[in-house]
Symmetry: C2
Subunit: 217 residues, 2 copies
DNA sequence: CCTGTACCGTACCGTTCGGTACGGCGTCAA
DNA sequence: TTGACGCCGTACCGAACGGTACGGTACAGG
């Protein structure tokens, strides 16, 4: 009996990646209403192989989510000697990239699946997406924020709060609307513009240089 | 043959409301993995009655979502002679209420269901939640924003953009995390504090009185 | 050549579930 | 009293699906 790949690490063969890719396609097309038979058909493999490799349906889904989540890579934000413009540009690039990812078909499908499973059932799909989504975003952003503070470009007490504000300003209602099936997808230039606006507002709130006289007047 | 209640308006009997309430409970407990038999058992009615009243499973779900969505009522924001404090207080109350609703069990369950159905299937559940969620929020907020602008308290070009910023600052990543199963639910006082912070930041960005010299400096 | 292995395709099994049919019971009106 | 009606409880049906078993094929190694 070959040990299945489900538990943790992924020495996945290319054939197995083909299967995962097929699953991803099915997810985008059908949500999670696709059968194991459909996966086997799409990937031109047998159900028996599917079960041998991934254990059960949940194992297959988990492997797919993990694999896709690992593929999403953020552009490494440069911490080199920060000027204000470089800082803002880095944040803008990050925000635009994030928005692109989040409103993409695969991300929407993945989040829908994870959310559905988080509601009814165990299977840490929600946890995985959470870990590779907002939490990972926070993890990547934290050193940048700290560098920005060290450089005297921004001021904040809690990195956590700053991150949540940034998240809110960038993502706003885009994700919720996409998940609920709103078809009005932002175009690339709109994304870029919104990212710029979001960063501008963020700096307006947290920017050390832009602090007016009184906090609330 | 009694005309089923699914198409549009709702002259629902109290008995039917009991059924819908049972469905809502099931949703919170089981996501959407509950059977019609389970609903009948919980509501102490027969499956046949269920189908007679609501047509099919989707009709039952739709009726439930509609009914719950209609129950969510925002406190009517007073447009009486706005002072800055009254304006801020109204926004804070609105934000806190919204956060309370959105992080509540039933709202999370409802959104999960709608999102899952938006992904795989027709059934305008996503549309309904969208319409009664963010869109309704925007609709209620718009006159308040306009009144605030008329009173010289805030400045903005696009109400749409202002609303999305407000939404982002208030909701941030709370909803995403809740939907994905993050168990760290904010306590009431934390919600109040966050709402106050969000409104403060909103006014910092859009407040007419707080506008510094340059837009981005 | 033979043997083992890994895989594909398909048939198969048990269960669950949406939807329907039927028998029985309480209620109300004539 | 009688009959019509609305509803409950349960049994039933057909389809779909998760998971397993089996036969057939290609290929590697000896």
């Amino acid at each position: 009996m070959d040990q299945s790949v489900c538990p943790d690490k992924s020495p996945l063969s290319s054939r197995q990646h083909e299967v995962l890719s097929a699953v991803l396609d099915l997810m985008v097309e059908e949500g999670d209403r696709f059968s194991m038979a459909a996966v086997a058909r799409r990937a031109s493999c047998s159900k028996e192989t599917l079960y041998k490799w991934f254990g059960d349906r949940d194992g297959l889904l988990t492997a797919t989510v993990r694999w896709q989540a690992a593929k999403v890579a953020m552009p490494p934000l440069p911490q080199t000697q920060l000027t204000r413009d470089a800082f803002a540009a880095a944040l803008e690039a990050f925000a635009a990239n994030w928005l692109n990812v989040i409103t993409g078909d695969v991300s929407v499908a993945l989040n829908r699946l994870a959310i559905a499973h988080a509601g009814s059932g165990k299977s840490g799909l929600g946890r995985i997406v959470l870990e590779n989504g907002p939490f990972e975003m926070a993890r990547r952003l934290e050193p940048v924020f700290l560098a920005g503070r060290d450089a005297g470009l921004v001021e904040f007490d809690s990195v956590e709060t700053a991150f949540r504000t940034f998240f809110g300003l960038v993502v706003a209602d885009s994700q919720t609307r996409a998940l609920l099936g709103d078809t009005s997808r932002p175009k690339p230039d709109q994304i870029g513009r919104w990212a710029a606006h979001a960063v501008a507002r963020f700096l307006q709130v947290y920017g050390a240089a832009a602090r007016p006289a009184g906090k609330s007047n």
